[in-house]
Assembly symmetry: C3
Amino acid sequence: VVSVNHGTGVATMKFKSPPVNSLSLDFLTEFCISLEKLENDRACRGVIFASAIPKIFSSGLDITEMCGKSTEHYTEFWRAVQETWLRLYGSNMVTVAAINGSSPAGGCLLALSCDYRIMVENPKFNIGLNEAQLGIVAPYWFKDTFVNTVGHRVAERSLQLGSLHPAPEAHKYGLVDELVPEEKLQEKAAAVMAQWLAIPDHARQLTKSMMRKAVLDRLVAHREEDIQNFVSFISKDSIQKSLRMYMEMLKKK
Amino acid sequence: VVSVNHGTGVATMKFKSPPVNSLSLDFLTEFCISLEKLENDRACRGVIFASAIPKIFSSGLDITEMCGKSTEHYTEFWRAVQETWLRLYGSNMVTVAAINGSSPAGGCLLALSCDYRIMVENPKFNIGLNEAQLGIVAPYWFKDTFVNTVGHRVAERSLQLGSLHPAPEAHKYGLVDELVPEEKLQEKAAAVMAQWLAIPDHARQLTKSMMRKAVLDRLVAHREEDIQNFVSFISKDSIQKSLRMYMEMLKKK
Amino acid sequence: VVSVNHGTGVATMKFKSPPVNSLSLDFLTEFCISLEKLENDRACRGVIFASAIPKIFSSGLDITEMCGKSTEHYTEFWRAVQETWLRLYGSNMVTVAAINGSSPAGGCLLALSCDYRIMVENPKFNIGLNEAQLGIVAPYWFKDTFVNTVGHRVAERSLQLGSLHPAPEAHKYGLVDELVPEEKLQEKAAAVMAQWLAIPDHARQLTKSMMRKAVLDRLVAHREEDIQNFVSFISKDSIQKSLRMYMEMLKKK
């Protein structure tokens, strides 16, 4: 659900894909289209991302898209994941993640790709790139985004352990910038957005690009190779088995 | 004003260019000449930089040098800015910044280019690369120096917001290494200098070069290109207008 | 002394080369052989490194190997130092350093090359890359390993000063991950190991490689050049003199 406030120039995009905002191919396709529209809307200078579903921001990549499907499907899916990151991490708009629940794996990547992250201070909510726990490996550009946010050492340890950090720990490590009580989340997101919008767009955009270009360019230059890597990795019997077991476990919960 | 203590091998360079130690072409030219003299003086092993003007370390690049001047002037000015950074960031001497006041933009770069930064703990004094607030963009080698000091994430946020950090916040982020009461500044700078000079020069210099060479080499390899970028950027009508407005605002103060 | 617990899949390697676990050519050769055996032992998934000598983890590279020897000897010694780092930093096993004493220079490198560092909280024990204090320079791959652990700024300062950080300071800077009372060291190391071994090996290994490959590849690509640099540096009269003086000083202690 996207709404633009033409007074402030700030859009709000509320994820609403029950039960847990999985990043399915449909979700990602719609996300990219919405983002592109906002990017081209001169009345819109910033976007706040939030979830319309309690306790969860986004549960990350939809595992059903990676399990028992065709090579063509995996290719299409992965291209959409890449596209989402390229557009969000490289967005010209100010992007603020208002994280009102847990945000593992791909959900964490969405948050990391924003300019600023505010999380509800509830220690039951956690966030992290936990791919290793599932027996899979975060792609190098997930890793690059993570390192740019928390530094090499925290990333090295957290990625290898597949850690999901409770909100207070995520804040301590710099994975999120700020913690607030749940009822203050929207208000705080709006205040942060106003602070960022006080800077002339042109100067802010060039500065953002200077900071993120090296990492974005790396994927752009190796996009097809990255798709091939993903498809061949995910097609392995051992990986398919791990993912099926993980899905069984989720269903039982 | 430069004085060398031949007993300790430590020079002190006190900036005295009223009213606010703007980095004019004259200032930078004199700075480079003084630094080169010290670099070639075998009796001198370290320099402490301070300001002879209360409440300000340096206000940064002199905007009058960037406003309404010729292309030739912009070229000469920018080459002097580059030269200053190349000499200071790559200095073989131990360099300590004794920051006795505010130090925005280019003033912050001078401090960042030293080996150690001590700042007066007065929260009214602030420091940062605030270029974005003026509608301009810090060059990539300002950014590299900043990232090497505070890490990628703090730099990303601070540069985009053009933040000027009050001394306590600057210390928290690692932008300065230490805070002291104003009356202890010179004493502390001398003590830090003595600690660094206890290390054999040769080993310290090779180590320093190992840490800073990658970033220095990048500018050296692209120096003319960087000048061209600056000149074409600063010559834009929109940028000239921003700078004129900013100067008007300063005059009214 | 190496022992493997086939129940847990965890080996313990206890350094026992009195008086101070110097990294002599013999020590390094044996270390590499032991590590390779464990690497090829399918029953072994992790190694805990500790010292059998009280108050010292390892005193670093054995200076007698670098003093008054032939070019051939220096070459052989340096290749063994490289080999040790390449195998340890790139190990497929989980590696935990249980640091029960001081660990300067090469001893610090061993610890930095592990996945996790636990140090006894005694402030009399210190750790750091103190090469500069001896008038020598840590190689760039020591520096890379250090930067990956503590970040650029802490590394820049610590390497130039040749700092040996007491345990509490080492923990503050992220040079070690955790401090424990001496009597809890082994227990804690085992608990941390169990946490890391809970992650599927394949995912953890690929993730580790993704984080460390760039830095490992750099030495692999320039290994002979690095040996030449070392040999020509260490063969200098001035360096030989510094090392002899340092050894005299140690003997007097």
